[in-house]
Symmetry: C2
Subunit: 248 residues, 2 copies
DNA sequence: TAGTGGTCTAGACCACAAA
DNA sequence: TTGTGGTCTAGACCACTAA
């Protein structure tokens, strides 16, 4: 099952340094469920012994996985597969703040619809779906202080997440849910943001005027193996809030 | 000048691991101009000898600076202070793309105004200015395909950047300019984004209707020492473009 | 050929957590 | 006390660059 690690064949195409081979091997094991979220990996020493490399090489591999939040390291305890919690998932991927403060705004969900359907072409492309693959579409409106502030449509592969509609009503924080129920851990996301006028339907949902400015956000969220897991279209009323971005 | 490095006093308040002390020391030297942008640092070996630590410790410090793009490492050549180029600065901090493609949109500047003035309170706060410190304010409109797409107001401390108005007209990419002329290297930025209606003045500048949705972006840009260097308000017409954000 | 950063190893000791 | 990750060292060898 596990491929052979090789340090001394730099001429072969596709050669990687040992620590990167170890990194890919451990990442693949995690993605395949060898260790579940919140579980501890074996110690550096035992991994090194098993793989026939030095502890320093395993350490470098684990450090790189920790830098991407795939694992968490706890001194004196061990190395653990990162578990999404409601809080951490919110803060990491949901960056809406109240104006005039650095306080996170956490909209709550009152109701949601869910249905299985054939995906439109843009969704099929975004999720890299097979030709005949269906999707679940979740539509929901989320509120801050009882005011509707956010309308979103969420698409996931129906093959990847069978019987998603059986879990109705879905929890507010879906990324935790994906991880628990479908072994789908979101590790990165790419967003496209623009300002748009609210159309009739959005205006009704968000209780604003037709044509009022709304923030339009399209997001693709990716899993451990780098494949797209979710496609999301969100429309924000940013009258009292703003979206926060840090560039480094 | 240089403080004494100490590995073996973990009980003292403010203790840092050796490699972090080395990191801070090198960062301070770069910030103070000991090595200028595009210059090479001494080799790992000579830094290790000078500081009385092992090469591995210097390496860990340099790797961490490289991860934040403060330095760049080139195998076989050396370690260099990162130099902003027009291209790299654009791509790193300016994330406007054409709709329907992954192609960067690079608006050009046709004219700009520049004036020295007393900062309004929000600018004073954003730049952490002293009570009586003045700012330069740069106002400019930028174009894509001869269409006005972006209006921005840029504020910098007049003490930090004396005689900025003597450089009129300013180049399109200011971060390169700051680094060359004022030893101010931008290494990170924080943005707040919302959708707003265009007011009368913005509508005239961007040749759109009053009340049309525009993307409103406030950005604080920080230097090597973590101090705010620039505050910027930008207003985009995102009819044909979008803002791109990657979350990890 | 010499000098640089990149990889890999081996081992010592420290800090932390839990039994 | 034991076992974990965190720091630090020393040294070998590789890959890349430029003279």
């Amino acid at each position: 099952m596990d491929m052979q690690l090789s340090a001394r064949h730099p001429d072969r195409p596709g050669f990687l340094p040992l620590y990167q081979q170890v990194r890919e091997l451990l990442l693949a094991r995690i993605a395949n469920g060898a260790w579940r979220p919140a579980e501890a990996l074996p110690s550096e020493q035992s991994l090194a012994a098993e793989l026939g490399v030095s502890q320093g090489t395993v350490r470098k591999a684990l450090d790189s996985l920790a830098a991407e939040s795939v694992v968490e390291r706890r001194q004196g305890k061990g190395t653990y597969v990162t578990q999404h919690t409601t809080e951490s998932a919110q803060f990491r991927f949901f960056r809406l703040n109240y104006d005039g403060s650095n306080e996170r705004a956490l909209p709550t969900c009152k109701q949601a619809s869910i249905s299985k359907r054939k995906p439109p072409q843009d969704v099929r492309t975004a999720l890299e779906l097979a030709a005949n693959e269906d999707v679940f579409c979740v539509g929901r409106t989320r509120y801050i202080d009882d005011q509707p502030m956010l309308r979103e449509e969420i698409f996931v592969s129906a093959d990847r997440m069978p019987n998603l509609d059986a879990h109705h009503p879905l929890p507010n924080t879906l990324y935790t849910f994906y991880q628990h129920h479908y072994d789908a851990t979101i590790v990165s996301a790419a967003e496209q943001i623009k300002a748009s006028p609210a159309d009739k339907r959005v205006a009704r949902e968000l209780q604003i005027e037709v044509g009022a400015p709304v923030l339009f956000v399209e997001r693709r969220a990716f899993g451990l193996k780098g494949a797209p897991i979710e496609f999301r279209r969100a429309i924000f009323n940013t009258e009292f809030t703003h979206y926060e971005v840090n560039l480094t």
